[in-house]
Symmetry: C2
Subunit: 388 residues, 2 copies
Amino acid sequence: MTFHQVEHPLLVIPGPIEVSDDVLFANASPSQSHMSKSFTETFGNTIRMFRQVLVTERGQPIITAGSGTLGWDMIASNLTEPGDDVLVLNSGYFGQSFSDCLEAYGAKVTHLKAPIGQCPSREQLAEALKFKKYKMVTVTHVDTSTGVLSNPQMVSEVVRQVSPDTLVIVDGVCSVGSEEIRMDEWSLDVVMCASQKGLGVPPGLCLVCVSERAIQLVETRKTKISAYFASWLNWLPVMRGYEQGKPVYFATPPIQLICALYTSLKAITSRPIEERWSKHKEASLDFKQFVTNELGLKQVPNDPSVAANSMTAIYFPDGVSAPDVIPKLFEHGIIVAGGLHKEIKDKYFRIGHMGITAIDTTRHELEKVKDTLRNIFTTIGHAAKTTD
Amino acid sequence: MTFHQVEHPLLVIPGPIEVSDDVLFANASPSQSHMSKSFTETFGNTIRMFRQVLVTERGQPIITAGSGTLGWDMIASNLTEPGDDVLVLNSGYFGQSFSDCLEAYGAKVTHLKAPIGQCPSREQLAEALKFKKYKMVTVTHVDTSTGVLSNPQMVSEVVRQVSPDTLVIVDGVCSVGSEEIRMDEWSLDVVMCASQKGLGVPPGLCLVCVSERAIQLVETRKTKISAYFASWLNWLPVMRGYEQGKPVYFATPPIQLICALYTSLKAITSRPIEERWSKHKEASLDFKQFVTNELGLKQVPNDPSVAANSMTAIYFPDGVSAPDVIPKLFEHGIIVAGGLHKEIKDKYFRIGHMGITAIDTTRHELEKVKDTLRNIFTTIGHAAKTTD
């Protein structure tokens, strides 16, 4: 294998992320039949490895062409029936969008909304669950708009205590593959994500993993599912078939992207998943310490305990805004993301540190980002307190 | 550019098809931001070129992660409201599946079903349109299960005469890029397809193009669209934005697949589209003459006028079945598809001839397929009548 990707600016937005040469090469695999023995093996193993990433034995992965957004449609269309109450733990932009999706399918959404930089507390959740019987509670593990890290384990604990039949849904778009998730142990009903973040694959895949309980609910629901491509009843035979070595057709799978995912998951599962989480934590901690100690800047999450390990959201200092920083980073071959949460959109910027950028320190990518930021902020007079 | 794809068996199923090195290399593009200037330009140009392929100036392309199946969801969820009547011109497996999708969204489907190997006639259609006011008529341009070619131009003519407000929907999954389609001139309301057939790109994209009239219907419909990812109201600002050079976020686009599509569309639109249709026609005619004259075999379409140019569906002769032929082709590095239409599943096989396999005769791919089939059928005693 001698494939090397084209030289390009370093992409450190919170997804898509940098992808390894191996994964990109797999994305350039020659055409093959979706019904072939070799692709069936690849897809079957991909499904099995995705389970390992979520530390689940009983969860049923469903992997299709799409994006994280389609994952919301799947959850809304399969697990809610019109009129069902849903509690959305809202820690930013993506809680709001998930809620729009749920409402499109007729769910009645209640928001438990945290101030910017925070997520709803254990007490607030327990209190909210007493008022109404919710079909599901959704939590955005890492809200990509704010970098706020929620605690799905705590959410699930509270739900199981107060309202045990309520489903616990984790939007793991910006967390799967980079943050600790233990689907079985934490009793999560759905974990959903996309390919282009912690899994280190180009965008174009929607990945969900569904608990036995949630599958049973889908299979026994009273009303028909008002969707076709998003209906798990259409995908379950396909996923089970590929895993058992017997291809089943519903829609042509995105073969090259599945090969790319297979390649990335092989690398990820070649080491204990705990090690991957730790490495993301270390990279994040180091970067956040740099932001605080050297740049002297505040982050959007208002406490380290609610700050994601997959990304950092940084407030500009007074008098500085995106045009002072982002184009300068670009001049140095670094691409970061501006603000997204509409209430603070122009006040902050975002840096992703997932996948090989966080794990493979021999790439020195975060070092480059830090050096460049240090120079930029020094130049514009908001320099570090100390630089050791 | 020195990328060459890995050696692999020749894939001549009716999609996915063989993909050029250039397109696969684009599918291995490095990560880039979906909001970047360069990707915005790529996506904008891709949208414009897709219009050229459909010979439309007024149609609005919508290109997302997905598959042809998702295109059905888009049509059903955006253009029908529960209780709407839809007439499905059924020429095989895919008419049936499209109908299942329409019903999932509450449409009431009437089938105008042709016997296997045929498609509904002008007279049958005109007659059917008199009985009921249909919201839409759907036609599968090439039914991949039978290789039957329908005539969307005729369908549209009849609809405009008898029931002018009825929408004309073309499932072009196995025809766009290989069969003649003139969206504006034929007054088609939606043409939908996927990336892995006549467009010569890996699977993973859903492409639709929507007429102004259909867009207006979506924007003024009485009931809310009961979908989110499939809702064109969410995608229209995105598509318009990228085309105007201003990226808009709804869901992360499948960047590498869009780059691959861009690369393929650049090659396709570098020549007049009529030339591409002709080349597919020539390749198909040559192959079908071989099947008739040299193999002496019957095709599923019962008349050349209803036989696709993108593929050939061939009945096995008496006493011969798939295990006698398909594994032998595989031994010679050729992958074809078995039967799909459930009533005749074991009685025929399918060969795709789209994209570079049909267009680029210097690859000699169809020659190889013909030579190998000739040898196999000679060996099993069902040889040609003459071989000139």
